[in-house]
Symmetry: none
Subunit: 215 residues, 4 copies
C-alpha cells in the first residue's frame, strides 16, 4: 500500500533493478517532502538530498520537476482506492457509502502524506490531479449506478451521479482539511462529521432504509 518505502539495502542488483531502485528512492523522498512541507517547498534540491542522490540524477529519471509531482497523487491515489475497497464490506449500499467515507479518513491517518499531496495537487500538479480525479470518479459513478441497478438509489440520472460524485469528493476534501489537520499531526475525524454525512446520504441519496443507526 505504501509506495515501497523499502528498507532493503541495495545488495546485489542488476542494472535494471538499480535503476528502478534509484527512481523509487526519489519517488519516496518526494512523497515525504510534499507530504510534510507541500509542493511549493519540494525543490529538486530538497528531494534529491532526501533521496540521497545527486541533483543531476533526478533528470535521468524524470523529464523535469513537474513530471514527478504529477505522478505523486495518481500513484498514491490507487493505494487509497484499494484500501477503501478492502474496507467497504458487503452491507447495503447506504452502509457501504458510509464505510467508504470513513475509510477515506482512515487512509489519511494511515498515510498522512496523502492529505497534502491530495489537497494541493489541484494547483501544483494539475495533470496528476486530473488523472486522479478520473480514476476516482469513473469508479465512483460505477458504484452508484450499480446501487441504482439494485434499487438502493432512485431518481438520479447518470449525469447527476457525476455531479454527486464531485460533491462527495469535494466534501471529503473540505472536511479533511478542516478536521484532520491538528497541530502538525493527523487526527481522526469527529463523530458528528460522520453522522452528518450519514444523514445527508441516507436521506438525500439512498432511497430505502429509514435512517440506519450505526455503520
Amino acid at each position: 500500500m505504501t509506495q515501497g518505502r523499502s528498507i532493503v539495502k541495495m545488495t546485489k542488483l542488476n542494472r535494471v533493478e538499480r535503476n528502478a531502485w534509484t527512481k523509487q528512492k526519489i519517488f519516496d523522498a518526494a512523497t515525504k517532502i510534499v507530504g510534510q512541507f507541500g509542493y511549493a517547498e519540494a525543490s529538486v534540491a530538497r528531494i534529491t538530498e532526501e533521496a540521497g542522490v545527486a541533483q543531476g540524477t533526478f533528470y535521468n529519471h524524470f523529464e523535469n520537476r513537474q513530471e514527478l509531482l504529477d505522478q505523486l497523487l495518481p500513484k498514491i491515489g490507487l493505494d487509497m482506492v484499494e484500501f477503501i475497497r478492502a474496507r467497504t464490506g458487503t452491507a447495503d449500499a447506504a452502509r457501504q457509502e458510509i464505510a467508504r467515507f470513513s475509510a477515506f479518513f482512515d487512509f489519511i491517518r494511515e498515510v498522512p502524506e496523502f492529505l497534502r499531496i491530495l489537497n494541493e495537487a489541484e494547483f501544483f500538479a494539475p495533470i496528476g490531479y486530473q488523472k486522479h480525479l478520473d480514476n476516482i470518479s469513473v469508479a465512483y459513478v460505477r458504484i452508484l449506478r450499480r446501487a441504482r441497478g439494485a434499487g438502493a438509489i432512485q431518481d438520479y440520472s447518470d449525469e447527476e451521479f457525476e455531479a454527486i460524485v464531485h460533491m462527495l469528493m469535494g466534501s471529503r476534501g473540505y472536511l479533511s482539511r478542516r478536521y484532520s489537520y491538528s497541530e502538525g499531526s493527523v487526527t481522526a475525524v469527529p463523530d458528528h462529521v460522520i453522522s452528518a454525512y450519514r444523514k445527508l446520504m441516507t436521506r438525500g441519496l439512498f432511497s430505502s432504509s429509514g435512517d440506519l443507526k450505526n455503520p
Copy 2:
C-alpha cells in the same frame, strides 16, 4: 459589488483620493492577474506593470506581496455574500438554499476572477482564506439554525451544521472547478448539477415538502 474597476479617469483628485486611487489600481490589477493566471504567477512586477505604477509604489500601499494576496479573497468574498443575499428571495428554506447555490455560480460568471482567487487561496493566501471561511461559515450556520428554528430542518445538531456547511462549500468548490471552466472562459453550470444538488438537499437536509420541482 465589483471592486471599483473604475473607468473614471484621474482628473482632479486631491491627495487622499489619488492615494486611494493608486491602491485601488494595484488591487484591481492583482485581482485580474490572480484571476487569470493564479497566485503563483502574480509577482509584484507583473501586478505593478498591469497597474501602471512602479514596483516601489507597491510598497507604499502594502507591507509586502503576501499582505495584498491575503486581502483579495475576503474583499471579493463580501461582494459575493452581498450578491447572493440579493438573489435569495423569500421562498421556503429549501428553495432559498437552491437559490443560493445557483447564485454562487451566477456570481462566478459575473466576476470570473473569483474562481481562482477562491480556489487557490487556501494554499497561496491562507490568512485571507481563513478570514473568508470565517465570514462565510458563520453566516451559513446562522442560516441553517434559523431554518431549523422555523421547522424546515430537523434532527441536525449545531456541530453537524458546521460539518454540513463545510460539505456545501466543498461541493461548490469542486463543482465550480469541474463545470465552470470551459476552455478558458467561465460558463454556466449545467442544469443536472443543480438538480442533483436540489435532490440531495431537499431530501437529505430539509425535512418538509416532498420534492420541490423547480426553483
Copy 3:
C-alpha cells in the same frame, strides 16, 4: 552640551526660528538613531519618522542624506572637547593627560550616542570624520607642544607629536569599543585600562615625575 534636544514646545516662533527648530529636530533624531543603531540603519525614512516630519522635509534642510551624517560627528565632537577641557584641571602635564583620557570615557557615558557616531564615522561619514580628526589633532598637538615648552615632555619632535596624537586617539577608539560596550548600555572603563594608560604615558611620553600614583 547635548545638541539641544529641547523640550520646549513650539509656541510662537517666527519663520526663521521654526526653520531652525525643524532642522534641529532632524538633527536630534539622527543623533539618536545613529547612536542606537548605527549609520547603516539610519535611513532618511527612519530619521524623519523619529523627528516627526515628512521625508520631503528632510531635503529642505540638507542637500542629501550624507550631508547630515557628515555633520553629526564634528558637532558632537566639539561638545566633547569642551567637556574634556572642563575636566582637565591644572595639575602637571602628565596628570592632565590622564585626566583627559578619563574624561573621554566619562563623556561617552554622558552622551552614549557618541560611541557609535565616533567609531563608525570613519567609514560611513568620512568627511565628517576628517573634520573631527582635524579639530582634535590640531588642539591635541598644541597641548603637547605646550607641555614640551614647559619641560614636561622632551625629545619629541612636532612630527612625532602628530603621530603620538594619532596613537592616543586610536587607543581610545579601540579601548572604547572593547570596554565600553556592554550588552547595549555603556559602562565605565575598567581601572586596569586606565592604569595601563597611565604607565605607558608617564613613562613613555612624559619625562619627569617618576610614576605618579593617582590622578
Copy 4:
C-alpha cells in the same frame, strides 16, 4: 602568503580542484573589490563579475554574502601574522616590538587590500573581525608575557597587557589610515612615526636598555 591570486590557467583539473579553484576565484575577487572599494561596495554581483562566474555560482560556495565577507579578514590576517613573525628577528624584546610594528606596515604595502579589509571589518564583518581580534590579541599577549618573564617588561599585569595590546592595535589602525593612504596608493609609513612609536614603547613599556637608537 598572498591568497593564491594564482596566475595558473585552469588546464586539467579534476572536479575537486576545479571546485576549489572557483571558490578561490571568488575569494580573490572579493579581496580585490573590498580592498579597493570597501565592503559596502562589494555586492555579490560585483564580486562574481570580477571573478568571472555567474551570480548563482556564488551560492554554491558560500552560504550568503556575509559569510564570505566574514572569512576575508581572518584568512588574510593569518598571512599577516606569518609575515610579521618571519621578520621579527631575535634581538631583544623592545627591538622585536619595533620590528613587528614596522613589519605591519610592510605587510600593508605587500597586500594593499589588507588596509580596508582590516579597518572596515569591525562594522561590515563583525564576526570575521572578532575572529581576527582573537587570533591576534591572544598571540600578542603571549609575546608580552614572555617578555615579562624574560625581564624585559616589568610592572604590568596580565589585564594591563590586554589593554596595552588593544592600544597597540588601535595605534596601528589609526596610523595606517592616516599615513598609508596616499592618493589612492599605499605608501611607506614615515620614519618619524616609527621613531615616535619606538620612544613610546621603549620608555613606556619595556624596562631596560635606555633608548635604543635604530632597529
